[in-house]
Amino acid sequence: MNIGLFIPCYVNQLYPNAAIATLELLQKFGADVTYPAKQTCCGQPMANSGYEHLTQSCNDLFVENFSKFDYIVAPSASCVLHVKDHLHSHADEAAATEIRGKIYELVEFLTDVLKIEKLDAHFPHKVGIHQSCHGLRGLHLAQMSELIAPDFSKPRHLLNMVSGLELTELDRVDECCGFGGLFCIAEEAVSVKMGKDRITDHTKHGAEYITSPDLSCLMHMEGILQRNKSKVKIIHIAEILNSSSIKA
């Protein structure tokens, strides 16, 4: 199985360790992973701001970079959802359609495609899961609190395989953190308040780490944590799942 690794622009620049962990994790399960060097971005920052019409050449480039793979995997729920919902191409719509069906966020790839049931990972900490809204309500990585349906959680399923790790609870299991792309700038006051409240929910339940399949949410919460000199850290889920190979 050959996999195209899609590393969103801000992860590439600011969270290289999460990208490395994603690559190593996939390789551990025997996947043949390639990182196409000419990739840039999924176009979401523009589209969510109302400028979807400007994303055409960005989309074409995405198609060019990724159409040849069996699967495309990315450590970012939000970007994956954007591609799934909005990738279209004037140049090659058939290829774009195919990509929309074969792109996966890392967690769902591990649980749904590789169907892993065992992990050799060790992370002796108290960890709270932040359900990114796009991962949750867009990609259905877990049951949503608003709907009446059986409970499940793909991130929790994976984290339960990590030795030493203790999951912490939340009062509001899937409330938004307030990042929201340009929302975090345009609506600074509400965005920060939402982030603070999410963090408080985690810290009052004793979390040492907040993890998520989405780094954009984590980046926003990290900014608030560090400003307030908190000891609580953020960590991408790939780094926990790959933690036997890094010093925890």
Binding site: I7, C9, Y10, V11, N12, Q13, L14, Y15, P16, I20, L23, Y35, A37, K38, Q39, T40, C41, G43, P45, M46, S49, G50, Y51, E52, H53, L54, S57, C58, L61, C133, R137, G138, M144, E146, L147, I148, D174, C176, G178, G180, G181, L182, F183, C184, I185, A186, E187, E188, A189, V190, V192, K193, M194, D197, M219, H220, E222, G223, Q226, R227
Partner: protein, 458 residues
């Protein structure tokens, strides 16, 4: 009444008092939890939502026929029917009905539509006094403030503030803030209003095409008291309130109060059909942008709304910014998708007052894809030229960079592109990111660089 500030600015004001934000957020979250509990106790909740959505799809697709059927049945029942294309026409109709009977005072209940039409102001300018008889709306009226929530109009006010208002306007003792006592005072005052008003206006929750009856759902019973004591009964309804048959009420009545406040059903679900002997009944069908919305395929599903307010209670942005920051009669997620249809320029900020988290769409009893519509309104607003030119410029620059691996790479290597384009990377006090958040660490080598060195070894 219209504020010149946009949602972000008004929300920032609201957030200056953090303790108040916590209280507001908590009050609405409590209602969301009540909604969750009652939804969990209802067998086939999701099937009910599906059914409600399907019934409303049918209504939207056949609105013309159902409206004609409804009108015919209303007339058979002896109700006078009017059609109003906009607020002005609606208000004129109400005025002419009252004027013909020389009525100078009217009691009003359960009507967001007349709030939207600014009926009170219109009539007051013409010498007719209107009293909102529902407690929350009454409180907002004496405070001369629009409702902040479609079901809980004064949810943003604390009981002490209401006590203060009552002290000022109704002469209660200073410092009295016990809700039961305050309600008693209001009730006593309103009782007299009911007894002396000859005309009563209500809104409509559901209009049954099959029978020509309409249903008004309330907890306080004021709509009924007003209607029963009046000689002129007026109902104002938006065109979309139609349901085809009476049996469909079984679906909607089970959903409405549960979605709104977690109550199995409203205390009163009153069916109005025929005037009493000696009474007049009038019904005004109001378009006010509805047919326009019907003509927008991307947005017409918002006509399914049954105004339960559930999307507001669940919306973290609503809870943490307050309904008044939406500067529109209907606030919250549903307000943000309805308002641009009426005036895209004036409400251009509202579809952006969301993180697109999608919780609203999940609670909506008629399954309106609210967050998808917010996304689509953003596209529409930009296309129509209602976004700042500075934003358009930077978006174009971003599009250019992201469509060229060469530019992106050079930019990325120096880190300059990200520093200039990503809001979180500029370290100064003018950057809204930095105001209350630290910057992410941008000093490391990028994954791309690491991969070029190490990737092939793996």
């Amino acid at each position: 009444m219209k504020s010149t500030l946009d949602h972000a600015a008004l929300a920032e004001e609201f957030n200056k008092d953090e303790e108040r934000v916590d209280w507001h957020d908590g009050a609405l979250w409590w209602i969301r939890q009540k909604r969750d509990r009652s939804a969990h106790q209802t067998p086939q909740w999701e099937e009910l939502r599906e059914a409600a959505s399907a019934i409303k799809s049918n209504v939207i697709s056949n609105l013309h026929d159902y409206l004609i059927q409804f009108e015919e049945n209303l007339k058979k029942n002896g109700v006078k029917v009017y059609w109003a294309s906009d607020a002005e026409e609606h208000n004129q109709i109400v005025y002419s009905i009252l004027k013909a009977k020389e009525i100078k005072q009217m009691v009003k209940s359960k009507s967001m539509l007349t709030e939207e039409c600014h009926l009170n102001e219109f009539l007051e300018e013409r010498g007719i006094e209107v009293i909102n008889s529902d407690l929350g709306e009454y409180i907002q009226q004496i405070d001369n403030e629009p409702p902040s929530h479609i079901v809980l109009p004064c949810i943003h006010k604390r009981k002490e503030e209401i006590g203060e208002l009552f002290h000022e306007h109704l002469g209660t003792e200073k410092g009295l803030s016990d809700p039961t006592l305050l309600t008693r005072v209001a009730r006593k005052h309103l009782r007299n209003v009911f007894l002396t008003r000859r005309a009563a206006l209500t809104g409509v929750n559901f209009a049954v095409a099959e029978t020509g009856e309409y249903v008004v759902c309330t907890n306080e019973g004021n709509a009924d008291m007003g209607a029963h004591l009046s000689e002129v009964q007026i109902a104002s309804m938006g065109l979309e309130k139609i349901i085809p048959e009476r049996k469909h009420l079984g679906v909607f009545l089970r959903l409405l109060a549960r979605s709104a406040i977690g109550q199995p059903i409203t205390i009163y679900s009153s069916h109005y059909k025929k005037p009493r002997p000696g009474q007049e009944m009038h019904l005004i069908l109001v378009d006010k942008g509805r047919s326009n919305l019907l003509a927008r395929p991307d947005f017409r599903e918002s006509l399914k709304c049954i105004k339960c307010g559930g999307c507001m209670n669940t919306c973290p942005v609503y809870r943490k910014s307050g309904g008044l920051s939406y500067h529109n009669t209907i606030s919250g997620p549903i307000g943000a998708i309805l308002a641009p249809n009426l005036d895209m320029k004036q409400h251009a900020d509202l579809p952006f007052a969301s993180t697109l988290c999608g919780s609203c769409s999940n609670v909506c009893p008629v399954k309106i894809p609210i967050h998808d519509q917010l996304y689509k309104w953003r596209q529409e607003i930009v296309k129509q030229g209602y976004s700042a030119s500075r934003k358009t410029f930077s978006m174009k620059a971003m599009a250019l960079t992201l469509s060229s691996p060469e530019i992106y790479k050079t930019a990325g290597k120096t880190g300059r592109w990200l520093l200039n384009n990503a809001p979180f990377a500029i370290n100064n006090k003018f950057n809204p990111w930095y105001k209350q958040r630290d910057m992410p660490d941008s000093s490391q080598q990028s994954f791309g660089e690491w991969y070029a060195k190490n990737g092939s070894k793996k």
